[in-house]
């Protein structure tokens, strides 16, 4: 499989504080890769580096092209949808307007309409609430909106920052099922940041565990799940 995203020795940080101390990882085209680790390990910063939300050095390649010195807007326009920490919902706008911001750069009108149908199939609740302010949605519904909006961007790669955060287990399961289905039927590659290692490893093919800004362990998800010592020392279950 070819690598869609490749990070090599990436260092990044905020002001004087450096957070990533040389992170290297590969996300294969069409795959789902989990990025695990404790609070403060640098998972979110890794995603932010990819979309240019934080200064970084080293190299990040997407589809063979370096993302060095590219603005966030250009990285995103190149085919990366990033659902950030806190979901990035525009609460002053309606549900519909949020979705439109996802598809606003696309010119393939017929495909866009099909994708809207898909989205409302995945998340019927969003169709019911189209005209309401996004601020009236529950946490789970906001997560659905964020995922739906990312899907409407028709990305090659989705970066998902803790989609399970603060949600009831049943909702988490259904959202993860939809992530799997988006990955399989639309061939969207996914890089998934999670604290909930168990559910993330169930979904992904490959996983990296970060510890204080470095990759501590990496491997096939199944392998990590089966490895008792890795599970105990890094994944906490």
């Amino acid at each position: 499989m070819t690598a869609l995203l490749e990070m090599k020795e990436v260092h990044a940080g905020y002001g004087q504080t450096s957070v990533l101390h040389g992170v290297s990882l590969v996300v294969p085209e069409g795959g789902i890769v989990s990025l695990l680790g404790a609070n403060g390990a640098g998972k979110t910063t890794t995603l932010r580096a990819i979309t240019g939300g934080v200064r970084w050095s080293g190299d990040i390649k997407f589809g063979g092209r370096s993302l060095r010195r590219m603005s966030t807007e250009d990285v995103v326009r190149g085919g990366i949808a990033h659902v950030p920490e806190g979901r990035g919902i525009l609460t002053e706008l309606t549900v519909d307007e949020n979705l439109k911001l996802g598809s606003h750069l696309r010119r393939d009108g017929a495909e866009v309409r099909k994708d809207y149908d898909r989205v409302f199939e995945y998340f019927p609740v969003l169709k019911e609430r189209r005209r309401l302010s996004a601020s009236t949605l529950s946490g789970g519904e906001q997560q659905m909106l964020a995922l739906a909006r990312a899907f409407l961007m028709k990305p090659r790669l989705m970066l998902l920052d803790e989609p399970s955060l603060g949600l009831a287990p049943m909702i988490v399961r259904s959202i993860f099922e939809i992530i799997r289905s988006i990955n399989q039927s639309s061939r969207v590659t996914v890089l998934l940041v999670e604290q909930n290692a168990r559910i993330a490893l169930d979904l992904s093919t490959h996983a990296y565990v970060l510890e204080v800004g470095r990759v501590a362990v990496e491997g096939e998800s199944e392998e990590l799940q089966g490895n008792e010592s890795v599970r105990r020392s890094y994944l906490g279950y």
């Binding site: 979309t51 939300g53 603005s71 966030t72 807007e73 995103v76 326009r77 949808a81 990033h82 950030p84 990035g88 919902i89 525009l90 002053e92 706008l93 307007e97 439109k100 911001l101 996802g102 606003h104 750069l105 909006r149 961007m153």
Partner: protein
Amino acid sequence: MQALLQQVVSGIAIGGIFASLALALVLIYNAMGLVNFAQGEMAMLATFVAYALINRGMSYWIVFPVTLVLAFGGGIVIQRVVIRPVERAPILTLVIITLGLATLLNGLAGFMFGYVPRSFPSAFSAQTIDLLGVFISYRDLGVMGVSGLVLLAVYLLLQRTTVGLTLRAAAHHPEASRLLGVQVSWMLALGWGLASAVGAVSGIMVAPILFLEPNMMQSIIIYAFAAAVLGGIESPLGAVVGGLIVGVTVNLAGAYIPFVGGDLQLAVGLAIIIVVLIIRPNGLFGRAATRRV
């Protein structure tokens, strides 16, 4: 009763002018949390441009849209050249820069056109018609019509177009908008251009009433501040409603409160600002400011 109605109607006409300038203030406030003290001077300069074009023999109805386009471009240039380099500076720095910009534009207009008040043509005659017992001049009707159309156009642009959607998104959540591919920096420039064009409308509408000179907008901007504050500074609809209320209030105060007359009308505008900020700082349509601490 009829005299009262008369005052209300002419208050609405002048209120439409305040509303346009207040809307310009709100557009920039929304985009970057900044009150643009140069908004009035930008409008004044645009009006001088219109004046120069009309003096060259161009028809009023060609000059009007041409001036708006030039003002739009000018607003974008000001944002790119003056504001953008200091975008991340503390808000006080930005405020002082807009004050400096106001002084600069004022001096520039004085230098280019002099300080002699000039009469500016109106597209509408000063004749009055009798509408259900209230006499309205065509000029007032024209001002109401033009202001109304401009406000409607801005509303449609913001609410019904993709550009408007991305403008609003960039204003409210720049970071989240970037992640959706919105070019936030250009949206700010577009906001300045739009504000500049809307403000220019107020200048062109008020010039036939006040006479055109570099200090023409200095009272109007106070009323526009009052209107924007009354409407809740963040709300475009609030700016319009606020403008109309301020226009009517100021007009009625001038007519019915003996010591106010024409001379203290400006004080009424300032009083409105103070009263709103004390009693209802979020204005009529503003949301309460909440902040995590």
